[in-house]
């Protein structure tokens, strides 16, 4: 058990720098999720923690030790890969035992440890099977078992659920979360799926283009996004962005409506006003925008409506039972307290 720290971590492939100074402190037993679009550097960061990629500059610290120059096996980590990477020529038991090769435990202790892990993962009846006789979810559990059996300081997960179908993914998500509550090791989990990030993480690290955009709890990144990218990346459907200006009196939306909000600016400032589809209602509250309904997506409890407004297309959630008709003109309103305001130039949240 140990904490993990990344200090000014950079990575360059040739002359191309892909990570630009990553700083992160992970507390002991914390579940950290790296999330971001493809190519944002999240997997590279994970691989640098694992020791599979060389660090260009900066430090990776596990426990109290800088591990930059240590081999992966000396770092007290275990990793679960997207393609499971369980050895097809070995039985489940041998696969799990493989993680214990370099351990100093006696044969009996190893055996007991394997059975314990298999018990936790509900895999005891499958121990003698070969991987090709297992389902995708079972294979993933073998991979997790191989990592768990070593009781590492830090667990690293590299998009482990993206090869599973939707239902299994939800199930495994829950299992990994329960597992974390049970074993309590530090976990660094990489995913491109913001739902996985929101549901599993103690804290989320949102990355884009090799920079950390925001680090925070799921509630923080959802309710107080640091910038427009985070605001739009987290939450589905994405946050609506409407052009507006901020001045001494308050917020003026492009379409003309003026709102009294907590934000003010002495000089006029071009801003993007963010509002989540959940926070937009048809009719009630302060009117924000209006327009015609162009598409409806019934989801059961609610219906997503796409509204063509002067500020662009806006998505809102409407009643599942009595949604507006196609082509109907609707006025969308919101509580000004639920709006987010971002500087149009920098994308940073206006405080």
């Amino acid at each position: 058990m140990a904490n993990l720290a990344l200090r000014n971590l950079t990575k360059a492939f040739g002359n191309t720098e892909v990570l630009h100074g990553i700083n992160l402190e992970v507390a002991d037993g914390e579940f950290i999720v790296f999330v971001g679009p493809s190519g944002c550097g999240k997997s590279t960061t994970l691989r640098m923690i694992a020791g599979l990629e060389e660090v260009t500059s900066g430090e990776v610290i596990i426990g109290d030790k800088a591990v930059n120059n240590l081999e992966p096996k000396e770092r007290d980590i275990a990793m679960v890969f997207q393609n499971y990477a369980i050895y097809p020529h070995m039985s489940v038991k041998k696969n799990i035992a493989f993680g214990l090769r370099s351990s100093k435990l006696s044969k009996e202790e190893k055996e007991a440890r394997i059975l314990e892990v298999a018990g936790i993962l509900d895999m005891v009846p499958l121990l003698d099977r070969k991987p090709n006789a297992l389902s995708g979810g079972q294979r993933q559990r073998v991979a997790i078992g191989r990592a768990m059996v070593r009781d590492p300081a830090v667990f690293l997960f590299d998009e482990p659920l993206s090869n599973l179908d939707a239902q299994l993914r939800t199930q495994m998500r829950l299992e990994i979360k329960k597992l974390h509550q049970r074993v309590g090791n530090t976990i660094v989990f990489v995913t491109h799926d913001q739902v996985e990030a929101m549901t599993m993480a103690d804290r989320i690290v949102i990355m884009k283009d090799g920079h950390i955009q925001q680090i925070g709890t799921p509630a923080e990144v959802y309710h107080q996004p640091a910038n427009a990218f985070v605001a739009q990346f987290i939450g589905a459907p994405s946050m609506n962005m409407l052009p507006g200006t901020l001045n001494g009196k308050g917020l003026k939306l492009g379409a003309g409506s003026s709102l009294k909000t907590k934000w003010k600016s002495d000089s006029a400032l071009d801003v993007m006003v963010g509002v989540r589809p959940d926070d937009l209602t048809v009719g009630k509250g302060d009117p924000i925008v209006s327009g015609k309904v162009t598409v409806r997506e019934p989801l059961g409890p609610e219906t997503l409506i796409y509204v063509d407004t002067p500020s662009g297309e806006v998505i809102a959630k409407a009643s599942g039972r009595t949604p507006p008709e196609l082509g109907e003109k609707v006025v969308l309103s919101a509580d000004p307290a639920n709006l987010h305001v971002f500087d149009a130039k920098t994308g940073m949240a206006v405080q």
Binding site: A50, L52, P72, K73, Y84, A85, P88, H89
Partner: protein
């Protein structure tokens, strides 16, 4: 559940009609032509073998008759060849050479192929191209340098002399490199995290994953060395060091080639190749089956 005998009469005929058309029955002219071509190909393949066995059962005076079935079949040739001490030695020589060369190729080709495939180092591409380019040099050009080399090292007329040019082949290296490309890096990285050193990763993780390729390579190398003629002929001097092909070519005398004895020796010498093929062929088929499964 079994179907009751009193199935409504109306159902029977359709079921029977569906069952009546046997799957393998040719349906049209195109299929018949395809079958005939395959049949002709099959005959073409099997004929030399049939002819070899037929000749091995003939008396010398009948050898130049093209009839397939000998007039007076005899096993005299087999008795002669097997009782002749030389053939036994040639067989042992061929076996030693083919087995050692095959094992060496499996190890060295895959080691080099793995390194070229999975490690990034300066000059990697250059080394690979250099190895590949040796494929373009015909053996006939190489035998003279090989011979001079063997002579200066004192390897003439020794096992080592016969084997050394083939202990590692460019073809095998290329084949193994291509197969290692199909081994996902995740396996290797997982093993690295699990604490294996690079040699262990190659042996315990990568090698078992390319078994089908190893089986194919084993068959190629074994057959190649078992039937090799030119180089063993050049490098050996004493009859005791001959391999089967070299030895067999010497049956007969200046005026007459003893075809019946050559064919008998050839027929006996196909047995190990059949065994090797039967053993490794299963791996190849299993490899294809494994590759068909997802994950």
């Amino acid at each position: 559940m079994t179907i009751a005998p009193d199935v409504p009469a109306g159902i029977r005929p359709t079921t029977d009609a569906a069952l009546a058309a046997p799957k393998g029955k040719p349906k049209n002219l195109g299929q018949i032509i395809r079958w005939l071509l395959l049949f002709a190909g099959g005959i073409l393949m099997i004929m030399p073998i049939v002819y070899m066995i037929s000749t091995s059962l003939k008396w010398p005076h009948e050898v130049y008759n093209v009839n397939l079935i000998p007039e007076e079949p005899t096993i005299e040739n087999y008795t002669y060849v097997l009782e002749d001490g030389r053939f036994y030695w040639w067989f042992v020589n061929s076996l030693i050479i083919a087995v050692i060369t095959t094992i060496c190729n499996l190890l060295f080709d895959s080691l080099v192929g793995y390194t070229l495939c999975k490690f990034r180092f300066p000059g990697r591409q250059l080394v690979f191209i250099a190895i590949l380019s040796t494929l373009m040099i015909p053996t006939e050009m190489l035998v003279i340098p090989w011979y001079l080399m063997s002579q200066s090292f004192g390897w003439l007329d020794t096992y080592w002399g016969i084997m050394f040019p083939g202990l590692m082949t460019a073809f095998g290296t290329f084949l193994m490199k291509q197969f290692f490309e199909s081994v996902p890096d995740d396996f290797i990285e997982a093993a690295r995290i699990d604490g294996l050193n690079e040699l262990e990763i190659w042996w315990k993780v990568a090698m078992p994953l390319v078994k089908p390729a190893l089986a194919a390579l084993a068959i190629f190398v074994f057959l190649g060395n078992w039937t090799a003629f030119l180089w063993p002929l050049i490098v050996t001097n004493s009859v005791d060091m001959y391999t089967i092909p070299v030895g067999l070519s010497g049956f007969g005398d200046e005026v007459d080639v003893a075809w019946e004895l050559i064919m008998t020796g050839a027929a006996i010498s196909t047995i190990p190749t059949l065994i090797v093929f039967l053993i490794f062929q299963r791996f190849i088929i299993r490899g294809v089956v494994m590759a068909g499964l997802k994950g």
